[in-house]
């Protein structure tokens, strides 16, 4: 499973970024290979408009199976992501990536 997190930092202890569009980083974790990759979303953060769809496009390119985020994508971005057949879990803010991942494994996150 490839899991992408919206993250405010670059390691497992970083907090989930509640923002979808203007998230500071995207973190991609591949459960099969244990590969941990950080994608700087600073360019999108600095965009004047369309941050949600721009981040959705970034995620599209990563082709994850699961997205773990905070408040969740807005309507337009959610529509764009639907085509990915990805499971989306929300309200994981106030958790670190590590905590969110454990909760995901226990099936304790809220699905969108």
């Amino acid at each position: 499973m490839k899991i992408v997190f919206t993250s405010s930092g670059t390691d497992w202890d970083a907090l989930i970024d509640p923002r979808f569009g203007r998230t500071a980083y995207l973190v991609l974790f591949n459960e099969d290979t244990a590969h941990f990759e950080v994608i700087d979303n600073g360019a999108v953060q600095a965009d004047a408009h369309g941050a949600g769809t721009a981040t959705a496009q970034q995620i599209y390119a990563l082709h994850p199976d699961v997205l773990i985020t905070g408040n969740g994508p807005g309507e337009t971005a959610a529509k764009a992501l639907k085509n990915l057949n990805m499971r989306i879990y929300v309200d994981a803010h106030n958790l670190s990536l590590k905590e969110a991942y454990l909760k995901y494994q226990q099936n304790a996150l809220k699905a969108l």
């Binding site: 203007r22 408009h49 408040n71």
Partner: protein, 292 residues
């Protein structure tokens, strides 16, 4: 740390008066964030002393270097929003009209036009008169993109809450349901809705509740000026019950609000009766947050 966002839908319901009152009641344990950056006014009540100020840039603006301009007129022709004018053979770019698309810069044969980051306002880190840190901002007239500036205010407020070990971030949001409002909701733990008993008060409240539900946010409602139209107030209560919105309390119409405002104060500092009512509402909000 708990983030309480105060919103109203309709403007003029008393949102800022209520937020400022909460920040006086929570003094010593809160960070204040004014996210109504289009028409920031929390500073009028909190008298912040600015510690740090930085320019906020968003989007781009075309800039014309007259020394390289050959007055060929191609830029003016290509500008679909009519942002380029000619006065006595001199070409000018109207910064209020320019939307930063960059077309003129692309086609200018002498490369006299370049795209520059657009200064859209200012961001401030201050200490309010209550002694609490305050993050606020001011968007320039006609400037674009309040949502991005709101994101900046919120990020900085969160950092302040960590640095100063505060339990609360009190966010004064913008009216309406647009970009700055959605941006002010990110990461919110609880939303306090300040409304008034009028047809537009209820109508705008409903629109806002729709937005809140998309983000699954827990909210409570304060009916301000409730005694002006008791029947409308009852309708608001019924609507809140139906939508599972906590009823946090009602406030009467009271000239004390305006009088306090003129003195640059909050009603909890000038009226014992209102202090009692607003304290009770603030306690209810804390109770609701703790039982989430």
């Amino acid at each position: 740390m708990h983030e309480v966002v105060v919103l109203s839908g309709k403007g003029g319901t008393g949102k800022t008066s209520v937020t400022a009152s909460f920040s006086v009641l929570a003094a010593g344990n809160t960070i204040i964030a004014d996210c109504d950056v289009d028409a920031a006014n929390m500073h009028l009540l909190m008298d912040p002393k600015t510690q740090q100020q930085e320019a906020f840039y968003s989007g781009e603006l075309a800039e014309l270097d007259l020394a390289s301009c050959i007055s060929c007129g191609k830029c003016k022709e290509s500008c679909h929003i009519d942002a380029i004018s000619v006065i006595k053979d001199t070409y000018r770019i109207n910064a209020f009209r320019c939307e930063g698309c960059g077309y003129c810069a692309l086609i200018c044969p002498t490369e006299a036009i370049s795209m520059k980051a657009r200064r859209s306002g200012d961001f401030f880190l201050s200490i309010a008169r209550t002694g609490d840190p305050m993050a606020h901002a001011r968007l320039d007239p006609g400037a674009d993109n309040s949502g991005k500036l709101v994101a900046k205010v919120k990020t900085e407020a969160k950092k302040l809450a960590e640095r100063y070990q505060r339990d609360f971030i009190l966010v004064d949001g913008a009216p309406g349901i647009g970009c700055p409002v959605v941006s002010s909701l990110a990461g919110a733990n609880y939303v306090a809705l300040v409304t008034e008993p009028s047809a537009s008060g209820l109508h705008d409240l409903k629109r806002l509740v729709e937005v809140l539900q998309k983000f699954r946010l827990k909210a409570g409602c304060i009916i301000n000026k409730a005694d002006l139209q008791p029947e409308q107030a009852e309708q608001i209560k019924a609507y809140c019950n139906e939508k599972n919105i906590d009823l946090l309390g009602s406030l009467p119409y009271d000239p004390a609000f305006t009088e306090a405002m003129i003195q640059g104060k909050t009603v909890v500092e000038t009226s014992a009766a209102l202090k009692q009512k607003i304290s009770r509402i603030w306690e209810t909000i804390q109770y609701k947050i703790n039982s989430l």
